[in-house]
């Protein structure tokens, strides 16, 4: 019950942000929505299936690039179609990658996903004609539900309609993921994480389920990446760089992967902490590195580890 009240409170708070505080903080919330969705997928992979991907930024970049290409290359501005296309492209990309990656676990899985992420990064970086190289591709302002909101300036659009659109998308994504982890499929994933041999023995097709988790995570990553591309107005190759993948895992750990809402909390805290620390010192990476090291050594269960047990996992 406390959990539910906190959830309602958080949602109401998020809905009030654009009217209650400065526009600046509202625009900071936008990357949070994008990362929140991407991390829900990553958490399915790591928190539930026990596979740590060090190349998840690959799919974030796939989403952003698909959206940018469609909007500035093909003039497709309907955001619903763009999201759908991003998800499809990510799915198509994830099938071969996933088929290869899920054959391995633990550190080999992490390394292989990292290699794929970097493969995509060098593709984005080197094929100038196709991807714009280091300049990336511009992302045009999309139409939301068919409306262009031409009367609003950029900030007005981002903190107005786009804000609520993204928030709604995060809520939907959370609800979908909630269903997924509570379905028999989610239970199987957890069984696989705890003991793959035993799971295989009782009839769970370990590799196929891992692949499904990988595909779902890819789609969530691409949707998150699409959301990220709109406020920055750009898809650039650094989105696929391995340190970006590292940051995603950092956020996940910060929030706590043992908890369903951990990744969302992690994305939120990461973004606002980054904003604060960056305004204090240019050496924010050092601070963040130290935080991450302390987390790994002392609190591997993240912030959610403090607020009590495994509430959200439904275990």
């Amino acid at each position: 019950m406390i959990g539910r009240a906190a959830l309602v409170l958080a949602l109401a708070g998020a809905a009030l942000v654009p009217v209650a505080v400065r526009d600046y903080y509202a625009t900071l919330m936008l990357p949070f929505f994008g990362y929140g969705i991407a991390l829900l997928g990553l958490n399915l992979l790591f928190g539930y299936a026990g596979l740590l991907s060090f190349g998840h930024a690959l799919f974030v970049a796939v989403g952003a690039y698909t959206a940018a290409t469609l909007s500035s290359g093909f003039g497709l501005l309907h955001f619903e179609l763009i999201l759908l296309a991003s998800a499809l492209v990510a799915l198509l990309a994830a099938i071969p990658v996933g088929l290869l990656c899920v054959r391995y676990v633990r550190i080999y899985f992490g390394m292989l996903t990292l290699a794929f992420g970097m493969l995509f990064y060098s593709f984005l970086y080197k094929f100038y004609n196709l991807t714009g190289g280091d300049e990336g591709i511009r992302m045009l302002r999309p139409k939301l539900l068919g409306a262009a909101f031409g009367n609003l300036d950029k900030v007005g659009f981002l903190t107005g309609p786009y804000y609520y659109y993204s928030l709604a998308l995060l809520v939907v994504a959370t609800a979908v993921m909630w269903r997924i982890v509570r379905s028999p499929f989610g239970l199987c994933l957890r069984a696989i994480r705890e003991n793959p041999e035993k799971a295989e023995c009782v009839g769970v097709s370990v590799r196929r389920y891992r692949l499904y988790a990988f595909l779902i995570a890819a789609v969530f990553g691409a949707v998150g990446g699409t959301l990220l591309a709109v406020p920055t107005g750009l898809a650039d190759p650094l989105l696929a760089y391995w340190t970006h993948s590292g940051n995603l895992v950092f956020m996940l750990l910060l929030g706590g992967f043992a908890n369903f809402f951990g990744p969302i909390l992690g994305a939120f805290v990461f973004i606002f902490l980054q904003d604060q620390v960056m305004s204090l010192t240019q050496y924010w990476r050092f601070v963040f590195g130290a935080i991450l090291a302390l987390l790994v050594i002392f609190f591997p269960r993240g912030l959610m580890g403090f607020v009590g047990g495994r509430v959200g996992t439904g275990a």
């Binding site: 290869l100 391995y104 390394m111 990292l114 970097m118 391995w242 240019q282 050496y283 990476r285 935080i291």
Partner: protein, 263 residues
């Protein structure tokens, strides 16, 4: 050897490079004759390897826990080292002009090769041979290999595991810092060089096989030659080709070309 995938090794390399630049500048300023700068570089690299045991202390806290956490902890170190470098040396590339050609050049037909490059190549070969000899022939090497093979058994036979790990790690750090220092005369020390090196080193180690010295050597050759060929023929494919090989190796022989097929 320790079954640690240390992302921070690239940071050691970058740190070694920056430290080397400063050391040589200081030495030249103090009146050390220019031809001795190689010794200064090696010395500074070795001196810097004192951070090895310190880092090892931090990593020791998570030995025996999930390997994913090691990956994350070393990633945290990478972030911190990047800013340490930024703090001391700023973001501008640091170059050591002047000393690169102090040994002159040799002409081989139509090719002109700086003697320094030959020195580094020879030094690389010598270090590889030395490492091979240490691991294969000395008491320390035997203990290291035994520990890598079976930690519990070695411990039961009276090996001080903590000390072996600290030494191996420090050795690895020293190789990284000296290596970083030695490339400095030929290129500049740049921010981000550590992060880039990790990716290359990662490719080398995966192709060669984790925990295989000979494998690392073969992997380095493959990556180096492949990059050179790609740059000469079709520059877009440079890193792409390397990753394609990495993925092919991981898929076909996950233990690497010369690794033991146990993974």
């Amino acid at each position: 050897m320790q079954k640690i995938l240390n992302l921070a090794c690239g940071s050691f390399y970058a740190l070694g490079a920056y430290f080397g630049v400063s050391a040589v500048r200081w030495a030249l300023g103090a009146g050390v004759p220019a031809p001795l700068f190689v010794a200064v570089l090696v010395g500074s690299g070795l001196a810097l390897s004192v951070i090895g045991p310190l880092i090892e202390r931090i990593l020791r806290t998570i030995y025996g826990r999930d390997e994913s956490l090691q990956l994350l902890l070393t990633f945290a170190l990478v972030l911190m080292f990047e800013d340490v470098i930024r703090f001391f040396w700023g973001t501008a590339p640091q170059q050591l002009g002047g000393v690169y050609l102090v040994y002159g050049q040799v002409h081989l037909g139509s090719l002109t090769i700086p003697v320094y490059n030959l020195i580094v190549i020879l030094a690389g070969g010598a270090v590889a041979a030395l490492m091979g000899w240490v691991l294969a022939r000395t008491r320390f090497g035997r203990i290291v290999r035994a520990t890598a093979e079976n930690r519990e058994m070695s411990e039961a036979l009276g090996v001080d595991i903590a000390r072996v790990y600290a030494r191996v790690f420090t050795l690895g750090t020293a190789l990284g810092t000296v290596g970083g220092a030695l490339v400095i005369p030929a290129t500049a020390a740049m921010t981000g060089m550590g992060i880039e090196l990790i990716v290359e080193a990662f490719a080398v180690v995966v192709i060669g096989g984790l925990g295989s010295m000979r494998g690392a050597f073969v992997g380095a050759l493959i990556v180096g030659v492949l990059e050179a060929v790609a740059i000469a023929t079709y520059p877009e494919l440079e890193m792409l080709a390397v990753y394609a090989i990495v993925i092919a190796v991981l898929v076909l022989r996950p233990a690497g070309l010369l690794g033991k097929a146990t993974a």
